[in-house]
Assembly symmetry: C2
């Protein structure tokens, strides 16, 4: 199958690598407005060829959008405009409602499959692409009923080939759940990094004292603004809702320390420990 | 050298394992009020022998306190009471001010070396002990001038033997820096776990959608209350100070999303990204 990947960064690059390795893609064309990205992707042989968007869409059986969610929202209708009924387009964006709405009434809506593979790292660019990305994680499909069976089948085969487990949600539920489970983690991590940078003026102390715990909590704070600002923008309502709750929880912990109510603090921490059971 | 380790959990167990392996300790005696811990430590051969505190203190050249910080604060003077001038005691606690104060006027103060090795995981118990723990991390020494040169030398040799890099701070500065770099991370992670548990009533969704990012941010939320409540208690002032700043930073991010000031949000995220440079 001939595949064109729009966006040859971490996600697009890792997927290209996997699909070439496992034979799903016979040929991968890459598109990227960032010249350095596209050159690196070529050098690393993640893609076979670089092209402009129209040529890449024309030549592919499957077009994959692996760009920031605001860019997907605008590129997707344009890509569908260039497509014919024998082609399929899928996206890999972290939000789904606005993206799905952008093509709701498009005559070729059924050629689009909306997905969100739950994998990523804090890094960016094709040089950050890794082998074995995605494997063992979940991919969420949204609005399956609006996709043509053959288009859906193509995308399912793709995710099968890289070892992902499929689940289904409506676009609204997806955006709510990922706000809770993924987006708030990023905001918490950004805020933590800003806190430490504000309070700890001795950079040497941060470097010396950073233990594994600190590093894992601020790891997400290295994630690029270009990817995450559009996510917070598109998922604004759910993100604000969960952010309010997070601030409330922090205030609660603070109050227990302020009032020296250590028994209640202990209870809250034991409640928090329950996350271990759920993640197991 | 004959070593007695008080507390055979994650920290004490990992240290016992390392000191037996590298030959620093010719014999390790373990003390633990938790019978299950001490039995596991014996079964796993982390320690050569189990004993009660007085016998363990009496028989050792070096006594190591690897128990929660509130327990150190109370056990340390008691241990010094049982010691003679040829023995050394060190602690591995995450706070230093109250612990140092607890023996400030003790006639054998000079036999005590206050340290904090910057290593840990979210797990607990001797079964969580790992090979190669501590290596490559920093250990903070406090109030070195109050320890006898030979006692200091013994403890330095211990940390050298497990590949730690030594640094020095006064107890107050230590507590401030670790509040900023370590303690607030734990509170942020507990609050995040509580947030998700509160908002996301579908446990399946948490399990399915948890990506590497979420898992790394809530990892610390699995840390035991028995260890962390005493830390927050002992380091209350600095912890509250940094927690206030953290809540302020979260509110700032929230405001930018609320007001849809995405350019400012982008600037803040880029500022947060700077943590990468410092941790490198």
């Amino acid at each position: 199958m001939k595949v064109s990947i729009i966006g040859t960064g971490l996600i697009g690059g890792s997927l290209a690598m996997a699909l070439k390795e496992n034979g799903f893609a016979s040929h991968v064309t890459g598109v990227d407005s960032n010249e350095q990205n596209i050159n690196t992707a070529l050098e690393l042989q993640l893609i076979d060829e670089a092209a402009e968007l129209p040529a890449a869409v024309k030549s592919a059986d499957l077009i994959i959008l692996a760009i920031p969610v605001n860019a997907i929202q605008f590129a997707l209708p344009e890509v569908l405009n260039m497509m014919n009924n024998g082609q399929t387009v899928m996206d890999m964006g972290s939000t789904k409602q606005l993206i799905c709405e952008s093509v709701e009434h498009h005559p070729l809506r059924s050629r689009f499959v909306a997905t969100h593979p739950m994998w990523g790292t804090e890094k960016s660019g094709p040089e950050a692409a890794v082998h074995g990305a995605f494997t063992g994680r979940t991919v969420v499909f949204c609005e399956k009923q609006k996709s043509a069976p053959d288009a859906l089948q193509t995308v399912k085969r793709l995710y099968d080939s890289i070892g992902m487990t499929e689940t289904e949600m409506d676009a609204k539920a997806h955006d709510m759940h990922v706000a809770y489970v993924s987006h708030v983690s990023h905001l918490a991590s950004y805020a933590l990094a800003l806190t430490v940078l504000e309070k700890e003026k001795e950079e040497d102390a941060i470097f010396l004292l950073a233990s594994g715990g600190f590093e894992s909590t601020v790891r997400l704070a290295k994630s690029p603004a270009s990817m995450w600002v559009p996510i917070f923008q598109q998922n604004r309502n759910y993100v604000l809702d969960v952010l309010n709750e997070h601030i409330h929880q922090l205030k609660q912990l603070k109050k227990m320390i302020e009032m020296e109510e250590y028994d209640t603090l202990e209870k809250l921490i034991k409640q928090a420990n329950d996350i271990e059971r759920i993640l197991k």
